[in-house]
Amino acid sequence: MNGALKRDVVAGALAGLVAGTISGWAILAQGLTATAASFIGVAPSGGGFAVHLAVSAFIGGSFGAVFRYSPYGSAASLTGGILYGLLWWIIGSLTLIPLVQGRPPAWSIDAAGAALPNLVAQLLYGAITGGLFSVLVSQYLRRTPAPAAVPHDREPLTRVVILGGGFGGISAAQRLDQIYARDRSVETTLISHSNYLLFTPMLAEVAASGLEAQHISAPVRAALARVRFLKADVETIDPAAQVVRLRASAGSAAETVPYDHLILALGSVPNFYGLPGLEAHSFTLKTLADATALRNHVIGMLEAADGEPDPAQRRAQLTFVVAGGGFAGTEMVAELSDLVRGILRYYPNIGRDEPRFILVHSGERILPEISPQLADYALSKLTARGIEFLLKTRVAGATAETVSFTDGGGIPTRTLVWTAGNQPHPLLGPLPCEKNRVGAVIDAPSLQVKGLANVWAVGDCAEIPDAYTDRPCPPTAQHALRQGTAVADNVSVVLRGAAPVPFKFRTVGVLVALGRRTAVAEIRGWKFSGFLAWFIWRTVYLARLPGFEKKLRVALDWTLDLFFPRDIVLMAPSAAPTLSQTIGAPVPAPTPSPVGEPVGDQP
């Protein structure tokens, strides 16, 4: 019980005692009928009176606890007391006391009428208690001024900092938000370089114009009520000094944020393995900008090919290569195929069999994360749609015009999507702790980073032992979400002084979208395919979108999308003509796309 509550309870008890003396004397000593006394439940004698006083003090104390002191005036306190006193008349005289004495509750009008003296007594008791309570506390405060409870002057006792605004970071922040909603001694801060949560599993559909960007992004600030949010780029993590250094934007000053507990949810970045030309000439699928750029590029290729006379150029423009046969790559190639074939009818000069879609994978079969039957099913479905698969092939390098493989072969293409490698965020590199082969920090089962005190890690940037298999947890969204919640629970447990709980999560299922509103899914051993699987896939992600309003809007949009075609608006950033340019003068070209060709025609 904190000090203010104690003070209110004591003042209320004192006030109740005084009021109880007066009301008890009025009932018991003023010659009212025995019936009235029976409604207090005590005999009008010394011992009974003492009991009555004790009960009055108790009710007064509870009044102080419930109504609390506020400096808004004694009038409110007085009327609050009347309300409370009458409430106790109902609870006590009408209900509890008859029950205790073996009679039915006195709720009928006649029984209540017999208890009217007690009503008046309770009303006056309540009024006196309320008024006296307010006077007592205000007098007490005048003698011993309490420290001003201005929130921002008090330093929070504990700081929890979360780095990264992906699934892991946001779910940890939401859980901490909930746990510490009314506790101001713990302050949580989320630091991310973007102010929205992105549903990365659905980026492929954005790139294929099957979804709008706002369907899969949710603003962070709207999802968090009390957690502080900082949009900034983290520069270094200093576990020795327990601070994080960051910069709000490229030009601004560096800031230092101290922490008592640090949660790393930085995710992963594309890994190009040092292969020549990949970083410059391929598309990745990590951010909304990536997806939009890819989409614009693909539509731009169609626009260019529509009027291109040179057949070699056309072939290169209409060949789309995706590297990496995991979830992202397979979904991407399927979606690309859907997109191009779906809008081909707007481009009369491009033949139906001219566009080529090629998936390059270094392993024996695509989709190694799911069972062989489903992978084969996916392979057969996609092959039937005309997608080519180059298995057991590794990419060696890329230029603006071609992709080359380790076995010496190559494909002329203007579009290469790279999904074949992910590495944990480079910020983890300098951390003085054990890391695995790809650079992820190694976690204990409680999600604490091994070797660093008060540092936790979740999601793609950490290697977390799976309680049910021998391998580490797969880097999926469902795992990151549960890890985020678990790490928040563990942090709060540790702050309370207890031992953290090991993370346990059995994979619910895996879903791969295959374009054309079909998917393959494996949920706890049950296999689905086709439209049903795609519908489940969409519904699961819809349920995960934060906020009812967002869910409703996206559900309406998706329902409409079932009936209407995709959008082919080309939203390329092109330089708008300015006054300084004269008619006929060459317009400065925009920033070139990764394959080195300006998108769209210039005026």
Partner: protein, 459 residues
């Protein structure tokens, strides 16, 4: 003008008004032991003097309350009714006769002074408001549209309740009075409903107990018998007041929506998200309150009556019907009273008041009407339905508390994070406070006292 002086003047005028009426009703206390006992106005002088003294206390209590004609009015009415319990029931019989008069019979005998004290409180409140400058809006800078809105609200209230119960003139004048008290209604539809209901009670006291009998030449109907006879109109006035209060609020909001560009509140995220969340929480709270209520009804054996509402007779159907009704009322509570309670006390206050409102609307009015009978508005019926009043009060209390706890869990808006938020929160609480505590106390006092006092058989 100092606080004491204002209070004394207000109390004086209030005492004069109520004293004259009480004199006319022959209900002023005997002053046999005073020197000027045989002067016929000695009782009046005593009453007026007492009123002035009480007015000092009233002004002191009001010194830190929010300004506003309506606020002071409701505080005055509550203050007056509180002093009825202290004065004519306790202190006056104690000093004059040597014992406390708290039983039903004495309360019935003292009933005229109850109405008198109400009038005292109302007049003192209005005078104090005028002296404090709470009627500063006249002449109004923002037009007289609010008067039209008040009249419209009154008209609609009369239409809803039925012209045979609340006369057209009374309805219009009542609506006008409401708009005069609240030229700018306070935000919050739920509090507006409760405020209107209490205002309706006061209009009943003036219209049905005072003006109408006077105009009919019967004298003031302030005695217990007169009030018993006029009790049939009381639920109608309560519902009229509640309806007028809500409609006045809506008309004001509509006017602002269509004609002005000031937003209602910057705190709102929009009726879409906030409203749905409030509905959900209210429905959940309704479950909890419904459990309490069903417990009461089981104890009373009235589940068949609930089942009878939809024509069935099984107990299980009765319980289900109870729960459904509890859910619906709970959801409506969420919509009407969201963000209106900042601690358990305020939650209790609004919940209990809302429970009483639903007792008037439910068992007294809708239940018989839905079964094809006229509404049960007599004293005898109210007395018979007193147990369900207890039940609905319990339900309201449970509803209020659980809803508050749900709000506390997810969005405790009254706990500020920063100093800026603290200022916002204190502004909001300040706005909430107004005359709300007075309303709560008055509603519960009247809800419990009036049926009991008026139901007793006069000896």
């Amino acid at each position: 003008m100092s606080v004491w002086f204002r209070g004394a003047i207000a109390g004086l005028i209030g005492g004069l008004a109520s004293g004259l009426a009480l004199l006319h009703a022959g209900a002023l206390p005997q002053t046999g032991w005073l020197p000027l006992a045989d002067w016929e106005y000695s009782g009046l002088v005593l009453h007026v003097a007492g009123g002035a003294v009480l007015g000092l206390g009233f002004a002191l209590l009001m010194s830190r309350q929010r300004e506003g004609a309506g606020e002071t009015f409701f505080w005055g009415v509550t203050y007056g009714s509180l002093w009825w319990f202290i004065g004519p029931l306790t202190l006056i019989p104690l000093t004059l006769l040597g014992f406390i008069a708290w039983d039903v019979h004495s309360a019935q005998e003292a009933f005229p002074s109850f109405v008198g004290y109400l009038v005292y409180g109302a007049v003192a409140g209005l005078v104090l408001a005028a002296l404090r400058g709470d009627f500063r809006w006249f002449p109004a800078a923002f037009g007289y549209g609010f008067l039209v809105r008040g009249m419209l609200a009154g008209l609609t209230g009369v239409w809803l309740v039925g012209r045979e119960h609340v006369g057209l003139t009374i309805g219009i004048l009542g609506g006008l009075g409401l708009s005069v008290l609240y030229p700018r209604p306070l935000p919050g539809t739920g509090p507006g409903l409760i405020r209107g209901m209490v205002y309706g009670f006061f209009v009943w006291a003036i219209a049905a107990l005072t003006v109408t009998p006077l105009m009919d030449g019967r004298g003031l109907a302030w005695s217990a018998e007169g009030a018993q006879a006029a009790f049939t109109a009381l639920p109608a006035y309560l519902l009229f007041g509640a309806a007028a209060g809500v409609i006045y609020q809506w008309l004001d909001a509509l006017g602002r929506l269509l004609f002005s560009d000031t937003p209602a509140s910057e705190e709102d995220e929009g009726p879409g998200t906030e409203g749905l969340r409030a509905l959900g929480r209210g429905a959940l709270a309704g479950l909890a309150g419904g459990a309490l209520f069903t417990g009461v009804m089981v104890g009373l054996g009235s589940l068949e009556a609930a089942a009878g509402l939809i024509g069935s007779r099984s107990l299980v159907t009765g319980a289900v019907v109870q729960f459904v009704i509890a859910e619906l009322i709970g959801a409506s509570y969420g919509l009407l009273f969201r963000r209106q309670s900042y601690d358990i006390g305020s939650a209790l206050g609004w919940g209990l008041s809302y429970g009483f409102f639903w007792w008037v609307l439910g068992p007294l009015t809708l239940v018989p009407v839905l079964q094809g009978a006229p509404p049960q508005w007599t004293v005898a019926a109210a007395g018979q339905l007193f147990p369900s009043l207890i039940g609905l009060l319990a339900y309201g209390a449970g509803l209020g508390i659980v809803y508050h706890l749900l709000e506390a869990r997810h969005s405790p808006w009254w706990i500020p994070r920063t100093r800026i938020e603290a200022a916002r929160v204190s502004r909001h609480i300040d706005q909430l406070l107004t005359s709300a505590p007075a309303l709560w106390a008055l509603v519960i006092t009247i809800a419990l006292t009036l049926p009991i006092v008026l139901s007793g058989q006069p000896r």
